[in-house]
Amino acid sequence: MPGATLAPTVPIHTADKAKRTQYSARVSALILLAPALGLCAVFIFIPAILAILGSFFTFGITSRAWEPAGLSNYAKVIADPIFWTALRNNLIIVIGSIVFQVGIGTILAAILDRGLPRASTVFRTVIFAPMVVSAVAVALIWQVILDPNVGALNAIIKAVSLTPPQLGWLGDPTISIWVVLMIACWQYTGFMMVLILAGLQGIPKELYEAASLDGARGLTAFRHITLPSIRNVLLVAVLITTIGGFKVFDLIYATTQGGPANATQVLGTYIYLQAFNLGNMGYANAISVVLLCIAVMLGWLQLKSSRRA
């Protein structure tokens, strides 16, 4: 240890003070970290571990005992067609959200930042507004608007002599997931827009001025200056959207409960169905573990890519 070998030049009490400072630094670091770690441990990590544990048993909410089930729950997951439908639907939502929410969000942000800066505040508030509406509200509003008998949308469509889908927007198993995706984009695009707008405002004006002197304006400037400069923000937006797309529950549950006949089932709602409607807690845990693995993998990807930047 340093204190012992630094003989005459360093007085003992200073060496002690150095150690004490180091010690108190560690202690204060721990104190500052403890609440965050504590809360996460209790409410995130421990339930996660319990879920993983529970996936190896069979039990219901009211069961007196947990029956060991080995890997049978996981075997059931792999053999379960509804699980694969749910996974597919999650992927549709993730990819669709990235393309539309991030895509349109970027375009809107670019327009508000460079094209129409003075109108920006009003439009910003309006476009962000759906974000503050709860999933329950969003579902209720859209259910009535999309109703095949009395809904506003069908009324408009019929008024222009087109025919709406025969089985209904949310009742047709082939299109219902896309309709749900549309509702999600309606709600969350504003969020992406605001996120990217922030990134855009970090780009110095001089870059654009210099480029425009070289003749690069409008779309060209957008492609060669704007996009590269917000690469990191775009990455964060994509990752939030991706993880959000796998986590999604509220919207689907409130709108279709996963119907019609599991056509819009996603992992989140399927876990809920198995755990709380059918009472198969162990099985629900197994599906949860799969979801957990996907999510953790994505989180790890984010860490890697953000470090690189």
């Binding site: 219901g60 209904g168 009742g171 047709d172």
Partner: protein, 442 residues
């Protein structure tokens, strides 16, 4: 069981004397002697579904109950329909279960009984003046398992076809006596105006079609043939193999072909379908007994009802109907079983039953005072009388049957309507779920 608190210290003999005196007083039913009211204050925690006017009903009942039980306070809590099933299950295994709670008869109740979470009320209910002695046996059976009483039925809901009087009169239509005549009605209505949907079907929550198939199964095969399959006690090679099940689904398709329903039933909410009827855009609807108060509340009263007609050649003569009993149960972990049962008995008494009918528009389990109700509508009295005249009652599939089989039936209904499953495929999926559930129960 009950612990008697004694203020100050009394010897064991004194305590026994007080206890015996109290027991005697309770056994004598009626007048509880004054000194026995020096009981500890008891709070009965009660949970129920959110329903219009129900909290008011409970409040006035609690007031009236206090006259005979001054030391009992009722702590009432309501939970929205969606979360109720989950919330009550978790509460019962958790740290603070309610003493008295609402539940549906059938699988919901049976599951709790199997897991030992509900109190066996047979003894307490059969004390003088308690509900075991006042309610009809058929009602008591709804919450009984193996002869033991696990709950008290408070009311039941049932289903009828509603029709608009004016439309029928104007178009010289008559109430169908058979299922085939019902199909003819649909065709006739479409002939009058193809844009009119004869019977709007709001199946977005899956249970409307389930009600149809419950009725159709019984009309095709008769109630007795269904029991073994619904309770999963039939032998494996016979479980849900009766060809009548496929026929029943076929009847749904016949209704579709006859133009009874609108194009997108799975995207239509029950709410919208009811509004289409109450706005007189559609002349008929297959709706629950609860719909009467909804229609009346919207100011639409010119309607009548008829029972789901029998099918020509079917095993049922039609003198039966779907009846879904609901009631109150007592948690096994309760500290106050006696007060709980007395409270339940009070709620199911004829007077409270009548009040319940009045405030909730519901059909109580003790209908003796119903005919005297001043505000009961004609339709309400008709339904009450019709229910009393039934020879056979049976519960709805998604309440009666094990959860995963019920789920399979619900999904099958959706797919049949969408045309993505044939009746044979539907029964295949149901049979698979039933076999799996049966295996899991062993």
């Amino acid at each position: 069981m009950k612990r008697y608190s004694t203020k100050g210290r009394t010897g064991p003999l004194t305590r026994h004397v007080i206890g015996a005196a109290f027991g005697l007083a309770v056994a004598l039913g009626g007048g509880v002697p004054q000194f026995a009211n020096a009981q500890e204050d008891v709070t009965i925690r009660m949970w129920a579904l959110t329903n219009p006017n129900y909290p008011e009903f409970i409040a006035q009942a609690a007031e009236a109950f206090k006259l005979t039980h001054p030391n009992v306070t009722i702590d009432f809590q309501e939970t929205p329909n969606e979360a109720y099933k989950t919330a009550i299950q978790v509460a019962l295994v958790g740290s603070a279960p309610p003493d008295v709670f609402f539940n549906w008869a059938g699988e919901d109740s049976n599951r709790l009984v199997r897991d030992g979470l509900v109190l066996d009320l047979t003894g307490l209910a059969n004390e003088p003046g308690q509900f075991g002695t006042t309610l009809a046996q058929s009602w008591l059976d709804t919450f009984s398992v193996d002869g033991l009483i696990y709950g008290a039925p408070t009311d039941a809901v049932t289903k009828y076809f509603y029709y608009d009087n004016a439309f029928f009169t104007d178009n010289s239509l008559s109430v169908p006596a058979t299922f085939e005549e019902l199909l003819g009605l649909c065709t006739a209505i479409r002939a009058i105006d193809p844009a009119i949907v004869p019977i709007p079907l709001g199946n977005s929550e899956r249970w409307k079609m389930n009600h149809y198939i419950t009725l159709l199964n019984e009309r095709v095969m008769g109630n007795d043939a269904l029991r073994a399959d619904y309770s999963l006690t039939a032998p494996d090679d016979q479980l849900f193999t009766n060809p009548g099940y496929v026929t029943a689904w076929g009847k749904v398709l016949e209704m579709q072909t006859a133009g009874c329903f609108q194009d997108a039933p799975n995207a239509t909410s029950p709410e919208v379908s009811r509004t289409l009827f109450s706005s007189q855009i559609s002349p008929m609807i297959f709706c629950g007994s609860w719909c009467m108060s909804i229609f009346d509340g919207e100011g639409y009263t010119d309607y009548s009802l008829f029972r789901f007609p029998p099918i020509e050649g079917g095993a049922s003569d039609g003198n039966s109907n779907m009846v879904v009993p609901q009631g109150l149960q007592v948690a096994a972990a309760t500290q106050h079983p006696k007060e709980a049962v007395e409270w339940i008995s009070f709620l199911t008494s004829p007077e409270q039953g009548a009040k319940f009918a009045e405030m909730r528009g519901a059909l109580p389990s003790d209908p003796s005072l119903l005919s005297a109700l001043p505000n009961a509508t004609e339709q309400f009295k008709w339904v009450a009388a019709d229910m009393a005249s039934l020879a056979v009652q049976y519960n709805v599939i998604d309440v009666e049957v094990e959860a995963s089989v019920a789920n399979a039936y619900l999904d099958a209904g959706v797919e049949i309507l969408n045309g993505t499953m044939t009746p044979e495929q539907a029964m295949e999926s149901i049979r698979t779920a039933a076999l799996a559930a049966k295996a899991a129960m062993q």
